[in-house]
């Protein structure tokens, strides 16, 4: 194994592979920085060029490098202007933007990048450690287990609702309903689409996220007539943010583990890792009153998870040729075209290539974090720009990001609808995060419930995996309540 590890490293460290990895990291970082342009889109554009290459390690360096850092630069916009750079950085907005408003943008950014680095390194380590157990772990999760996992996600609506649990629950239900819009993918039956072809594909998650958070913040800035940050100084926040990650090292490790976990389960999708980690932080950390109001732990948890998730998604891809998400599906297409055949060989005769993936994931993360750290301070200064400068900039990001959902004028109309909804929710104290989470999980929940029931009837409820996971769900809901009651008792 050591020989394969060294072979993999040597392959990645050749001039050609390293140059391609740098190119991949650069493209991945820029794409992560720009809201709306997802990693899959860029991978799809790169595919025709890549499949003509002959060296599999060079292909790994370019594509895995690009994919690994897709979420590293996305906190820039999530934290600074409340617009998620990628679908994996939605939860970062909740505390990141609040920190920016308090003049702690530099601290939030450096914490997010350091957490990304740690998550990006823990991911490959877990991938490496799990090599012997890859197959049994992946095979243990069927549709019923996936359904309970989506339930677990939805149970987090409670912790994301703050002081308004009923409003949060209703917002979550509305999110699930929004997720049902379009043609049912099982049968093609139209639901809430009113005969409009635009709605057949459902409502884009990016439009919901941009509308709920981007425009309402613009309106608030414009009416307040101030800059984003209330204090006009960066202070010592930058180094503090780095220290924060090590102060909360156990949370960083746990969140990274959650990211790997979500990544390796093919079927949960790429947008849930940050929410799972964020909710886990609220559920398990002490002194959680500040979550949602600018707590750095609310930045560390999602950012560690969304980077480690990338390594996790390579587990089923390499072990079975079953991609963990759209990005890995496209990478798999390129792998097959250049002669890399995922499957048992990747753990035996082709172990060198598996190690090339692991090394690329690690090195690409280090490179991307270095680039982001270098730009963090100057970019953080945009928080001090007056509202008449920053609001148009945010609007451009939001509108371009929204239009890139389907490249249709109707995207802008939908953006307006969700912006109005987001503004009204904000104004009347309705939590917006549960609605977004409902949209993220709604489709998966419905699909896995359908498959569980049609395949197993009601017997699926008695599967050991389901019972264990269900116990964990109940425990994760009840534990914070019990903790609160205990705290009240002691005080």
């Amino acid at each position: 194994m050591l020989e394969a590890a060294l072979d993999g490293l040597m392959g990645v460290l050749t001039l050609e592979s390293l140059s391609l990895m740098c190119l991949g990291v650069l493209i991945g970082s820029v794409v992560g920085f720009l809201p709306g342009i997802g990693g899959p889109t860029t991978l799809a554009i790169m595919l025709p060029f890549v499949v003509t290459m002959r060296d599999p390690v060079a292909v790994i360096a370019l594509l895995v490098g690009m994919d690994a850092v897709g979420n590293t630069a996305s906190p820039f916009t999530s934290i600074l202007i409340s617009v998620p750079g990628s679908s994996g950085s939605q939860a970062t907005i909740l505390d990141g933007f609040a920190m920016a408003k308090q003049g702690k943008a530099a601290r939030a950014l450096s914490a997010s990048f350091m957490a990304s680095l740690v998550g990006g390194l823990i991911g490959p380590i877990v991938l490496l450690a799990s090599l012997p157990f890859l197959r049994p772990i992946v095979l243990a999760f069927g549709s019923p287990e996936f359904f309970v996992l989506t339930l677990w996600g939805l149970a987090m609506v409670g912790v994301l609702s703050g002081d308004a649990p009923v409003k949060g629950l209703l917002a979550g239900i509305l999110g699930v309903l929004i997720a049902t819009v379009g043609l049912d993918t099982k049968s093609g039956i139209e639901r809430f689409a009113f005969g409009e072809p635009y709605l057949w594909e459902g409502i884009s998650l990016i439009l919901v996220a941009l509308g709920l958070f981007g425009i309402p913040e613009c309106i608030e800035l414009a009416t307040r007539k101030t800059s984003i940050a209330e204090r006009q100084e960066l202070g010592s926040g930058f180094t503090e943010g780095i220290k924060d990650v090590f102060r909360h090292w156990w949370l960083t490790v746990r969140s990274s583990a959650i990211g790997v976990w979500v990544g390796f389960l093919p079927g949960l999708g790429s947008s849930v890792a940050d929410w799972f980690a964020y909710a886990h932080a609220i559920q398990t950390e002490k002194n959680r009153e500040q979550f949602g109001k600018g707590d750095v732990r609310g930045v560390i948890a999602p950012e560690a998870a969304n980077n480690s998730k990338e390594a996790g998604s390579y587990i089923p891809t390499l072990a079975f040729g079953i991609p963990g998400g759209t990005s890995t599906a496209l990478i798999l297409t390129a792998f097959v075209a250049v002669g890399i055949n995922p499957g048992p060989e990747m753990l035996t005769t082709e172990l060198k290539l598996t190690f090339a993936v692991i090394w690329t994931l690690a090195i690409a993360n280090i490179l991307a974090v270095a680039v982001c750290m270098a730009f963090a301070k100057p970019i953080a200064r945009c928080c001090f720009l007056p509202f008449y400068t920053i609001v148009p900039i945010i609007l451009v990001f939001v509108i371009v990001g929204g239009f890139s959902a389907n490249f249709s004028n109707t995207d802008l109309l939908m953006l307006l609808v969700f912006s109005t909804l987001g503004f009204m929710m904000r104004r009347h104290g309705w939590p917006r995060a549960p609605l977004l989470l409902g949209v993220v999980l709604g489709t998966k929940m419905e699909l896995y419930l359908w498959l569980s029931y049609t395949r197993f009837g009601t017997e699926w409820l008695l599967r050991p995996g389901v019972m264990i996971l269900f116990t964990l769900v109940v425990a994760s809901v009840l534990f914070p309540i019990w903790q609160d009651k205990r705290r009240v008792k002691t005080t």
Binding site: L139, G182, G188, P197, P266, T333, A337, L447
Partner: protein, 355 residues
């Protein structure tokens, strides 16, 4: 006032005339530079990663090489409803300018044959540009489930599918009907990758695909057998696997039942086909057809296609594909009714679903 009206009418007519000149007309010559600087969107009726998507991406990569002007191409995936969503979208939005082409699969034809109020397209009206066929479907079964197949008292063997319409599914349904195979059908899986995983997990016991590459991976893993194959003749590389007709033997149905079987499985022969919208001018269709078939002469195309599909793939030209689409989707009323009846019997979606 009157003069102004006449002037505006004149301008309208001139604009209309110029507009008519700009749109390529049927039978007219296409400028060799027509595609220069333009972008063709290749709409794909599946999610990334499966056979339809791979074919669409191969087309997007190689077709421009053989089109004058070497246009750019982009791929847009529009999965769902077994191709219904993409087909409806293509029919509603496809223009006659050769800038939107559609990579569909046999499922889109199967859904049309099945009918129903959500089908808002007619594949017989499309202009076929060509197709990639990978050989007939093969039906795989987990070894640990095979003994239950012919034991009616045992737990049912589960067949998994995406939308309950795939052409290979006909083997399962007819096997259950005429060979008393002990089967149950579950559909709703998102695509190839989810079904691959479900088969490995044992959540489903039977699954079919045309991809020799996928089948060989399963066979290499052990634990799986190939039950039968859909072609009239045995596929190269699978000569030890009987055809479904051989498996049926004397129990092969006759008359309308077999006509219905052929109607269901007919699109299988067409496999992955590329089409242009109904109104696309003949000259533009000819250009695209020629470019499609010329991909066959490209060594790199052949190498990649073999990597993806195994060595049984071949290209079929647009004319032949057009004829096959028409034949596969022209089904008698009796056969249609039989299909609805037998699909209902096995809890598979029919064309009578209500909104």
């Amino acid at each position: 006032m009157m003069a102004a009206r006449i002037l505006s009418l004149k301008m309208f007519l001139i604009a209309g005339f110029i507009g008519a000149l700009l749109i390529p007309q049927a039978g007219a010559q296409i400028d060799n530079n027509y595609y220069q600087g333009k972008t063709i969107k290749v709409l794909v009726s599946s999610s990334p990663g499966g056979g339809t998507d791979t074919t669409g991406r191969l087309v997007a990569q190689f077709l421009p090489k053989f089109l004058p002007g070497n246009p750019q191409t982009i791929v847009q995936n529009m999965p769902g409803g077994g191709g219904t969503i993409a087909n409806n979208y293509f029919t509603a939005n496809g223009k006659a300018d050769g800038l939107l082409i559609f990579q569909d699969s046999s499922s889109g034809l199967g859904n049309f044959t099945r009918g129903g109020n959500r089908i808002k397209y007619d594949p017989r009206k499309y202009k076929a540009l060509g197709s990639v066929t990978r050989g007939g479907s093969l039906l795989m079964i987990r070894k640990d489930a095979q003994s239950r197949l012919s034991d009616p008292k045992a737990q049912k063997v589960v067949v998994g599918d995406t939308d309950g319409i795939r052409t290979w599914l006909a083997m399962g349904v007819y096997g259950a009907e005429f060979l008393q195979w002990n089967l149950r059908f579950v559909y709703g899986y998102s695509g190839t990758r989810e079904l691959s995983l479900a088969l490995r997990q044992g959540e489903v016991d039977v699954w079919g695909t045309q991809s020799a590459k996928i089948i060989n991976e399963f066979l290499k893993d052990g634990g799986y057998n190939v039950l039968c194959q859909q072609e009239d003749e045995r596929r190269r590389g699978f000569s030890n696997v009987p055809t479904f007709e051989e498996v049926l033997g004397e129990k092969k149905p006759k008359g309308v039942a077999w006509e219905a079987y052929n109607a269901w499985t007919g699109p299988n022969d067409i496999d992955k086909f590329l089409i242009a919208p109904e109104a696309t001018p003949d000259a533009l269709v000819a250009l695209l057809r020629e470019a499609f078939f010329k991909m066959n002469s490209d060594e790199e195309f052949k190498r990649q296609a073999t990597q993806f599909f195994g060595d049984a793939w071949r290209l079929r030209n647009g004319d032949r594909t057009q004829t096959m689409i028409r034949d596969a989707t022209t089904v008698s009323k009796d056969a249609q009714e039989y299909l609805t009846k037998i699909r209902k019997k096995y809890d598979l979606p029919t064309g009578e679903q209500k909104k």
